[in-house]
């Protein structure tokens, strides 16, 4: 665990040579070569499906590469499984955390390596907790190591993950979109930790969509597309536009703000809403408006839309749709014209083992078949129309949703609500885990919706996205609305000032 001095940046710590991997019908990786240097942050950029995840899985031994070689400090090594990856010091922090909820922090950190603390097979808990505290201290953290992972917040879990990797003497730390689920403030904390790790000579492979982070962190940037490396730069030799261009294969102008539509009558009026956690929520959304709900992760944004939709119980407060009260129950909300695109589409948005058709009509059955009799042909037609309208890449309505890419899955969720004829769309992180192509299409769709007189309430952790989309925004902190920003006042700084307690 002793700190390693920053290594020579000239000789790579790990070199991937011509790695390829294919699955039936898909070339996930085509001859990927990559150099990873100690003490450097190597950012890998790419759209969804570009092969980043496959690359990580090959690196950590979850996939066995079909071809190519791996060199560790100049020597050929074979990665046949997680154990081999561990042996050469590769540690991965996945988006879906690899913590067991009902093991405590210390047990999680040393999961799989308890032998070091075992005497005659019995684990010396005192020693293990002491060691865990040591590791956390190196990151400047002081957690109670007896806490169950289940009781930790997302950011805290991520820190435990990092501590876990660090405790394995990982020389190469792979982070898969580490800031996707944490607040900006927590991200800063993470960046500090990354800086510390760099100083200690750890090589970091950092995967992200966020150009700002890429620019701020990356020493070396590799862009992938369609399973292959399309470009590799040093940070000082490249601009964001060039990188985005490389990602999508063409140059894209920066996000401009969406043209506003003249706002109509109020569609949604929420006053003094209170739930078990939320307090004093009042907001209004008009027809033809895109309203943002900004704030850090954990500030209560998701809870607000869930409460409006009726997924969580209200304590007090009134919610009116087009001036009328409606029962706060998801089925009533749906029939009243409310739509909720949930944050976690795999868990809450889609029935993954079912077909596109079944999912796309899930919220609209009551509307399409008012008598309660289901007609497969009619449902099929509705679904085909949606596939065409949303440009969903699927062989047909019978395709199982699990087999679609993230962007197309998200479009199915959106399609569900289009079919339901909703008038107020509450979109919780609509572009999370979605590639740029699908992202633009989703933006265009939102624009179409408001043009058409619908109202949209958007939650996003990506500030540029909010600023691009929204006519105005409410900002939340600690389960309260702490501010409202009109179109002119809306800026990243303004949002952050409100969202972060000074």
């Amino acid at each position: 665990m002793a700190a390693t001095p920053a290594a020579e940046t000239t000789a790579p710590l790990l070199r991937l040579i011509d790695i390829s991997k294919s699955f039936p019908g898909v070339h996930a990786l085509r001859g990927v070569s990559l150099e990873i240097h100690a003490g450097e942050v190597h950012v890998i950029l790419g759209q969804n499906g570009a092969g980043k995840s496959s690359l990580i899985k090959v690196l950590c031994g979850a996939y066995l590469a079909d071809g190519g070689a791996v060199e560790h400090e100049g020597r050929r090594v074979a990665i046949h499984g997680p154990a081999d990856a561990n042996a050469i010091g590769v540690g991965v922090i996945f988006q879906e955390f690899s913590l067991a909820p009902y093991l405590d922090i210390a047990q999680n950190i040393f999961l799989g390596r308890e032998r070091a603390f075992a005497k005659a097979g019995v684990i010396d808990k005192v020693a293990m907790h002491a060691a865990a505290r040591d590791v956390l201290a190196q990151l400047g953290l002081h957690y109670d190591t007896r806490a169950f992972a289940a009781d930790l917040g997302v950011a805290q879990q991520q820190m435990v993950e990092i501590a876990k990797a660090l405790s394995q003497n990982s020389r190469i730390l792979v982070m898969d979109e580490p800031t996707a689920a944490i607040s900006e403030r927590e991200s800063e904390r993470l960046f500090e930790v990354i800086a510390r790790l760099k100083q200690r000579g750890v090589a970091i492979v950092y995967i992200s969509h966020r150009m700002k982070e890429v620019v701020a962190l990356g020493d070396r940037i590799t862009v992938m597309r369609d399973g292959a490396v399309v470009a590799s730069y040093r940070r000082d030799e490249v601009s964001p536009d060039v990188m985005v261009g490389a990602m999508i294969g063409r140059s894209l102008a920066g996000l401009k703000r969406r043209e506003p539509v003249p706002a109509g009558a109020p569609v949604l009026t929420v006053s003094n809403l209170q739930t078990a956690r939320l307090a004093d929520i009042s907001l209004e959304v008009h027809a033809g408006e895109v309203v943002g709900l900004a704030g850090l992760v954990g500030s209560g944004r998701t809870e607000v839309v869930r409460a409006i939709f009726g997924a969580d119980p209200l304590r007090t407060g009134t919610i009116r749709l087009n001036g009328a009260d409606f029962a706060q129950r998801p089925d009533r909300s749906t029939r009243a014209g409310l739509a909720l695109l949930p944050e976690d589409r795999k868990r809450e948005g889609l029935a993954l083992p079912l077909a596109v058709g079944e999912n796309a009509t899930a919220a609209a059955l009551w509307r399409l078949f008012r008598r309660g009799w289901f007609a497969p042909a009619a449902a099929d037609k509705v679904c085909r129309d949606l596939i065409a309208r949303l440009n969903i890449a699927t062989p047909g309505p019978a395709q199982i949703v699990r087999n679609l890419s993230g962007g197309n899955q998200q479009k199915v969720v959106l399609g569900k609500w289009l079919a339901a004829g909703s008038r107020l769309f509450m979109l919780d992180e609509p572009t999370r885990g979605v590639d740029i192509g699908a992202k633009t299409e989703i933006y265009r769709l939102i624009d179409d919706l408001v043009q058409d007189g619908a109202a949209v309430l958007v939650i996003s952790s990506e500030l540029p996205e909010l600023i691009h989309l929204c006519d105005r925004a409410y900002v939340m902190r600690d389960y309260r609305i702490v501010g409202h920003l009109g179109r002119d006042a809306l800026s990243e700084k303004a949002i952050l000032d409100l969202a972060v307690q000074q």
């Binding site: 039936p24 999508i248 294969g249 939709f309 997924a311 129950r329 998801p330 089925d331 909300s333 749906t334 029939r335 909720l340 949930p342 868990r347 809450e348 948005g349 889609l350 029935a351 993954l352 083992p353 079912l354 079944e358 999912n359 009509t361 899930a362 919220a363 059955l365 009551w366 078949f369 309660g372 009799w373 289901f374 007609a375 497969p376 085909r384 596939i387 065409a388 440009n391 969903i392 890449a393 699927t394 062989p395 047909g396 309505p397 019978a398 395709q399 699990r402 962007g407 569900k416 339901a420 192509g437 699908a438």
Partner: protein, 327 residues
């Protein structure tokens, strides 16, 4: 990016058999194989009487298993069906005995079944007890009430009009088979041609997503348990009519065979997939096997073992097919 821009090819229709259809075909094939094998080994097998006999026995099993199938597709489990059947049988038999009206028995059986189902639904929805335990608790409660109500007696001897449900024939086919066909058809229509049926699959596959799609999941689930209870009530009537008696021990031995029929029928316990046709075939296969063992003079001690083998084989085969389909 290329795939994104091209709209869906229209050839999607001509894909190979969906796993569900395949499973049905395989089961039909299995039944055919056993049939051919048996008719060559035992002359008594391929007679109309024997085939109707098998179907009649299967129909009783199917009635119990059908409600369970719906519950399982919707992502639940109902361990109380056997005890529920017992309770319905005892109460309805007593009602018929005391009023002399078969109609009273029908009302009581269906009412009692629905009530037990409703209680299951409330325990699961409101009290949030996992289905396994809520229905296991109800198993004991229903069984206990049945014991208490019957106080060790048997209610027996019903009018021919009522007994017709269990032992009568229509167009040369025993009435329980008609009941099986009619309820099976209703069930199939319910699952595939009503919006509620479609919602059942959705909530079984992903409950949270179903809730957030505006499907009133709690009410749908309660409905499923009520339907399961109603089926137990209906089965109870057929049993009482068939046996000409109600005793507090008739339902309990039916639980595991019913679960086995559902599983052999290819319905996944994960929810979200399965079919009543499968359960029907499952019930027929299980009945057929026992009939075959009898005709082949195999000792009755072997019946549970062979049934166990069939369940395991069916489950393994489905797992293999699903794995293949997912890849």
């Amino acid at each position: 990016m290329t795939t994104m821009d091209t709209p869906a090819p229209a050839s999607a229709r001509s894909q190979p058999l969906a796993p569900g259809t395949l499973a049905i075909v395989v089961r039909l094939g299995l039944i055919a194989c056993i049939g051919v094998l048996l008719s060559s080994l035992s002359p008594g097998f391929a007679t109309t009487d024997n085939l109707l006999n098998i179907l009649r026995q299967a129909s009783l099993l199917f009635l119990v298993a059908s409600g369970l199938t719906l519950v399982i597709i919707g992502g639940g489990l109902d361990l109380s069906i056997g005890a529920n059947l017992t309770l319905c049988a005892c109460l309805s038999a007593a009602a018929i005995k005391s009023t002399g009206q078969p109609a009273a028995g029908i009302v009581v059986a269906l009412g009692c079944g629905a009530l037990v189902g409703l209680t299951n639904g409330v325990l699961i929805n409101r009290v949030k007890i996992p289905p396994f335990l809520a229905t296991f608790g109800m198993l004991w409660v229903a069984q206990g009430i049945a014991y208490w109500f019957m106080a060790g007696q048997v209610v027996y001897g019903f009018s021919p009009a009522f007994r017709f449900f269990g032992s009568g024939f229509w167009l040369g086919i025993p009435l329980p088979i008609w009941v099986m066909l009619v309820t099976g058809a209703c069930g199939v229509i319910f699952l595939s041609r009503t919006t509620i049926g479609r919602e059942v699959y959705l909530m079984g596959a992903n409950e949270a997503a179903a809730v957030l799609s505006g499907i009133p999941v709690a009410r749908r689930r309660t409905l499923l348990y009520v339907v399961s209870g109603l089926m137990a009530g209906l089965a109870a009537l057929i049993y009482v009519a068939r046996l000409n008696a109600a005793e507090p021990g008739i339902g309990e031995p039916l639980l595991l065979p019913a679960i086995a029929a559902v599983l052999v029928g290819g319905t996944s316990l994960f929810g979200g997939s399965g079919s009543l046709v499968g359960t029907l075939l499952g019930a027929i296969i299980l009945t057929l096997i026992v009939n075959a063992l009898n005709l082949l003079n195999v000792s009755a001690s072997w019946h549970p073992f062979v049934t166990g083998v069939i369940v395991v084989v069916a489950v393994l085969a489905d797992a293999a097919v699903n794995r293949g389909a997912r890849r």
